[in-house]
């Protein structure tokens, strides 16, 4: 029998997606009336675990206890009935509905709306007062800021009388002020006796808000500690694990002239939210500039703006020539012509056409390159295949079959194809995003070597990675990004993981908030 | 060889033009015990294939209803010199083609008179199918007949459309009829193939009189269909089938004089047509046969003395 003091107790939860084991024998106990943090690297299995708890996925094995009672949660309806509410990273709101309608949806009483709506209006008023969750019940969601939308999600859960509230990376999309407000709300909820599970990558938030914290790594639960008895440093260590710190053999950098100069670069997303807030950077020939940061702090936008995918404002100068940031000439093709190669963060969505063969993918972005043309009319597919075979040999892509579809290679080998394609172009500037995400140790080493070799040929490299180890071992200079801005530049020789981690969490290296 | 017949768009059960042809073929089949091939057109572009396929398969003679076959027949007939063809409503000058055309203006004149006599409002209507000279010929004869008995009468003329779809658009027929009723018409003559079904229906719904065309349509709404202008397409088909492979090529004009056109009387409209009306119309018919009255044929010069299109 489980302990009724725990709002939630999970015993031996396992879940795999095909070959990927997302959760492996997870045990966790969350005492009632506490805020419980869960941290872990990308892909550690946090969201999967919570989705199991909310009935979105079914665990392959394991048991769930709610308030000490064994509870089956085959679907979201059951989770709601068990008093669980979830605020997803991507909100599940109907954009053109009012707040009231969103709150009522699925929790109506009776076939007619009028009664439900007026009751909801009353209850919402009470909840708002009680938890400082003021939102206009008649506002339409799409007119609300992200922070307010999130409050609606919380209200939705509370309206369903949730006692247990799960928030998956709630602050990824919030401004610091909004995040602070959220944490005040969460503390208020806890003080009213609710139990809260908070998933976040930001150590500062864990330290300031939670009572206990669990750390996940690669599908397993590494441990649970009382927040008061731990430190950001310890958590970072638990989270990252005692991985072999890859020693990349590289000679000291010999930086040359400035290849790329970035001035006041700004990018807005489709909702008009500013994701890059004025970036200024210089990248020199013969150096690797690493961008460290937690995912979602503008690194992707930086790469996309430089790679010609996202529209931006500001000024970028490549080898002394200004490149347009929007309109004509601001596309991937023009950037490649200007000598910029790009290994995108998401190889499957951007870097490769998964249904294309390997050799077709080797031409991706370069299909009009002269050496791939037979004549004015036709592409030289034979040459392409030969070239692919060569690249596959050089980069040890397995299996070395140019006619195999990209989707049939493993993640690591897919990445090698992309890296081979971009590096072999011999670009003046290489943009690399997450070059080794999901790639095995051997391949990591290989890809790192290639990047360093390119640097040693006097090329400029901009490296974006969420892996601190990778940033530290590869970069000649490190810029830390937080909330669309550069927090500062550090020398990898003189900085340490702790300082970088704190900067990534929005604090300056000296431990103060930014 | 087996004879064959091809019905035009609208289909053999259009209650009107094609159905008349169908009845002729059936009559032949019943009288002789013979069998025949039949085909209904669905689509403009199939005409040539239909003709060729029947000729190729050995049908003889091949009879087709509708002017629209004219162009195609002129192209196909020379390819099958041993097959005889007959076409209704169009003249195709080929050595193996018999062309049957009708004096529709004469029959229309008679029913026009009847409409003029039956109308209480002094306004009568005409709803044509596809707007082509052939149908104007109907309308023009009709208007002349109306004016002959009531020179002050108003004739409201509408055409259903400009494409063959106009032969089979009962909705539009019904709406046009309702429109004409609103303009005061209390007798409406439909010369529109399958579209006429809608006209007759609307007239019955609205409590006014209608006049059918081609086949005897009096039975469709007893007490509402004043009469029908008979165009003996059935006779034309029957004759062609009976002649068989010995079909005599050339042009065959069917008018009042040789019973090619006329008007229908039966128990369904007996109560609507008075003896005086019938006497007047019959008298006019005799005069037309004798040449004493000449009904103007719109197609002879594309003008009409009694109506403007």
């Amino acid at each position: 029998m489980a302990d009724p003091r725990y709002a939630i107790e999970l015993k031996g939860i396992s879940k795999s997606f095909g070959p990927v084991q997302a959760n492996r024998d997870i045990h966790i106990a969350v005492p009632r009336g506490t805020i419980h943090g869960i941290i872990g690297e990308n892909g550690a299995g946090k969201s999967t675990l919570m989705s199991i708890l909310y009935g979105f996925y079914r665990a392959d094995s394991g048991e769930i206890f709610i308030n000490g009672k064994p509870t089956a949660i085959p679907d979201s309806q059951s989770a709601i009935r068990a008093g669980i509410g979830m605020v997803f990273q991507h909100f599940k709101l109907v954009q053109n509905f009012t707040v009231l309608e969103n709150v009522v949806l699925g929790a109506e009483e009776g076939a007619l709306l009028a009664g439900s709506l007026s009751r909801a209006r009353r209850v919402l008023g009470e909840l708002s007062r009680e938890y400082e969750l003021d939102v206009d019940p008649d506002a339409v969601i799409e007119d609300l800021s992200v922070g307010h939308q999130q409050r609606v999600e919380i209200l939705k859960a509370l309206y369903r009388q949730a006692d247990i509230l799960i928030l998956d990376e709630p602050t990824g999309v919030l401004t610091p002020a909004e995040a602070d407000h959220l944490f005040r709300i969460l503390k208020g909820l806890r003080d009213q006796g609710k139990t809260i599970i908070l998933i976040t990558h930001k150590l500062r938030e864990i330290m300031e808000t939670t009572d206990n914290v669990s750390v996940m790594r690669r599908g397993t639960m590494v441990g649970t500690v009382r927040t008061a008895e731990t430190s950001p440093e310890e958590l970072a260590e638990l989270m990252v694990g005692r991985k072999v710190l890859l020693e990349v053999e590289k000679a000291p950098a010999l930086p040359g002239k400035v290849v790329l100069k970035i001035e006041d670069l700004r990018v807005r997303d489709e909702h008009g939210v500013e994701r890059l807030k004025g970036i200024n950077l210089e990248i020199r020939a013969g150096e690797i500039l690493g961008i460290a940061g937690v995912a979602g702090n503008g690194q992707s936008e930086l790469l996309e703006a430089l790679g010609g995918i996202a529209r931006a404002t500001g000024r970028i100068t490549m080898n002394g020539v200004e490149l347009p940031l929007s309109g004509k000439g601001a596309d991937g093709r023009a950037r490649r012509a200007a000598g910029i190669a790009h290994v995108p963060e998401d190889r499957q969505a951007l870097g490769l056409i998964m249904d294309f063969t390997a050799w077709e993918n080797v031409a991706f972005g370069y299909h009009d390159a002269p050496e791939y043309q037979k004549n004015a009319l036709f592409m030289d597919n034979d040459a392409l295949r030969a070239d692919t075979e060569r690249k596959m040999a050089t980069f040890d892509v397995r299996p070395p079959i140019p006619t195999l579809a990209a989707k049939n290679f493993s993640g690591g080998n897919q990445q090698k194809i992309v890296v081979a394609r971009e590096i072999e172009r011999n670009p003046d500037l290489l943009l690399v995003g997450q070059p080794t995400r999901g790639v095995d140790i051997g391949a990591i080493e290989f890809i790192h070597k290639q990047i360093v070799a390119l640097r040693d040929q006097g090329k400029a490299i901009l490296l974006v990675s969420v892996e601190l180890d990778e940033i530290r071992s590869l970069s000649d200079r490190i810029a830390v990004m937080f909330d669309g801005q550069i927090m500062g530049l550090r020398d990898p020789e003189t900085t340490d993981e702790r300082e970088l981690g704190l900067m990534m969490a929005g604090m300056t290296g000296k431990g103060e908030a930014a | 060889a087996e004879p064959a017949i091809i019905f035009d768009l609208g289909g053999k059960f259009d209650k009107s033009f094609n159905e008349a042809a169908f009845n002729g073929a059936e009559r032949w089949a019943q009288e002789t015990g013979g069998t025949y091939k039949e085909l209904e057109m669905q689509d403009e572009a199939q005409r040539e294939q239909a003709l060729r396929r029947l000729a190729e398969a050995g049908s003889n003679p091949v009879v087709m209803t509708g002017f629209a076959f004219g162009d195609v027949l002129a192209k196909v007939a020379p390819d099958f010199p041993d097959t005889k063809f007959a076409i209704v409503d169009m003249v195709v000058e080929q050595p193996n083609v018999k062309s049957v055309v009708f004096n529709e203006h004469e029959g229309s004149y008679l029913v026009g008179m009847m409409a003029g006599l039956a109308s209480k409002t002094g306004t009568v209507g005409f709803i044509g199918g596809m707007d082509i000279p052939l149908i104007r010929k109907f309308g023009c004869g009709y208007a002349q007949g109306v004016k002959a008995v009531n020179p002050d009468a108003t004739v409201v003329l509408n055409m259903t459309g400009t494409t063959p779809a106009a032969w089979n658009d009962p909705v539009k027929g019904a709406e046009l009829a309702k429109g004409q009723k609103a303009q005061g018409a209390d007798v409406i003559y439909a010369a529109a193939g399958g579209t006429g079904v809608g006209v007759l229906q609307a007239a019955a719904d609205e409590g006014i009189l209608s006049i059918g065309v081609d086949s005897n349509q009096n039975y469709m709404h007893p007490g509402s269909v004043l009469t029908s202008m008979l165009k003996r397409v059935d006779n034309a088909v029957y004759e062609a089938f009976k002649e068989g492979e010995a079909l005599t090529p050339g042009i065959n004009v069917m008018g009042l004089a040789n019973d090619g056109v006329g008007y229908a009387m039966d128990e369904n409209n007996a109560s609507l047509v008075t003896a005086e009306m019938q006497a007047a119309v019959d008298a006019a018919a005799e005069k037309i046969k004798s040449g004493e009255i000449v009904v103007h044929d719109y197609m002879s010069d594309n003008t009409c003395p009694a109506a403007t299109f």
Binding site: K92, V94 | K12, E175, D205
Partner: protein, 322 residues
């Protein structure tokens, strides 16, 4: 154009707008739930054939009407299975079912009656008769409004009034009931519905079924009220015009009424080129009048007449993800 002609035109407009309105509201339910349906045409056709056939065989227009709804529901069910259960391409499914309906209606009618794919003409109780509204004759004398009431408003078959009533009813269902709220939500963001613990599949099937029923009424009206029987392809593209009207109305019920009346008015005008000519003083070719609804729809789609934003999840099969 005199008043009598105008009344005549409006009378025709109402008659011709009715099937558009049924079909348009039918499409509204489906598309509001996120299932695109270009198969309105096929469902109407199927219902027209079934209702006319059964009405003729039983002599009862009511039995015929229900048969029409049932036939339309069968096609709606197939569309549901293809696009909801098997997450197939909704557009292709709609196109396919239109073809099937176009052919199979003729096959069945031919098999039943042997009259070239038509049903025999319906008469008497096998057909919806026009209803004279109370006081129509008495009020006829009242200037302007009297004739309007007697000529345009009164004197239509029952289904015309049912269609008109469907507009406020649909509005009420959509905006005032739990079902309506969920229906609108599932077309905008099925994930929101799913996480709220409601079955996306169930809701979508319900919407598709309503579409089937309303298309059934549209077809039954065509065959047993507007006309007296079924004929091949008798819906003549009305399903597509209804779709156009739906876009024009931006997927809103009251606007759908106006859009259908507008398109019905165009159809009425196309029937009376003489009136058009009298009004605009030039001979307007009938094909241009026929094409007007389509041209307008393209303009709406292009955003020249206000942007039409379809339900956000429209056309996309729902796949569960976080």
């Amino acid at each position: 154009m005199d008043y009598a002609t105008l009344l005549q035109l409006l009378d025709t407009t109402l008659r011709l707008a009715t099937p558009l309105l049924f079909a348009c509201l039918a499409g509204l339910y489906s598309e509001r739930a996120g299932i695109f349906d270009i198969g309105l045409e096929g469902k109407m056709l199927m219902a027209a054939m079934a209702s006319a056939s059964v009405a003729f065989l039983t002599g009862s227009v009511w039995v015929g009407m229900f048969a029409g709804m049932a036939a339309s529901l069968v096609l709606a069910g197939i569309h549901g299975v293809a696009s909801i259960t098997f997450r197939g391409n909704q557009l292709i499914s709609g196109v396919a079912l239109n073809f099937v309906a176009s052919g199979i209606t003729v096959l069945i009618a031919q098999r039943l009656f042997g009259q070239g794919g038509r049903t025999p003409p319906l008469a008497g109780d096998a057909r919806f008769e026009a209803i004279t509204l109370p006081l129509a004759e008495e009020l006829r004398g009242v200037p302007v409004l009297g004739p309007l009431y007697a000529e345009v408003i009164s004197g239509h078959p029952l289904l015309v009034y049912v269609a008109l009533l469907m507009v406020p009813l649909t509005w009420w269902v959509l905006y005032r009931t739990r079902f309506g709220l969920r229906l609108r939500a599932v077309g905008e963001n099925p994930a929101a519905v799913d996480t709220a613990g409601i079955s996306v599949v169930g809701l979508r099937f319900a919407a598709v079924a309503i579409t089937g029923i309303l298309c059934g009424l549209a077809g039954a009206y065509m065959a047993t009220a507007l006309q007296a029987g079924f004929g091949r392809e008798m819906t003549a593209g009305r399903g597509y015009i209804a779709l156009a009207a739906l876009i024009f109305a931006k997927w809103r019920p009251v606007a759908a009424l106006w859009a259908c009346l507008l398109f019905g008015f165009f159809q009425a005008l196309a029937l009376r080129p003489d009136v058009v000519e009298a009004v605009v003083q030039v001979k307007v070719p009938v094909p241009f009048l026929d094409a007007l609804p389509y041209v307008l729809t393209v303009l709406v789609l292009a955003g020249f007449v206000g942007k039409a934003i379809p339900p956000r999840a429209g056309g996309e099969p729902y796949v569960k993800e976080r």
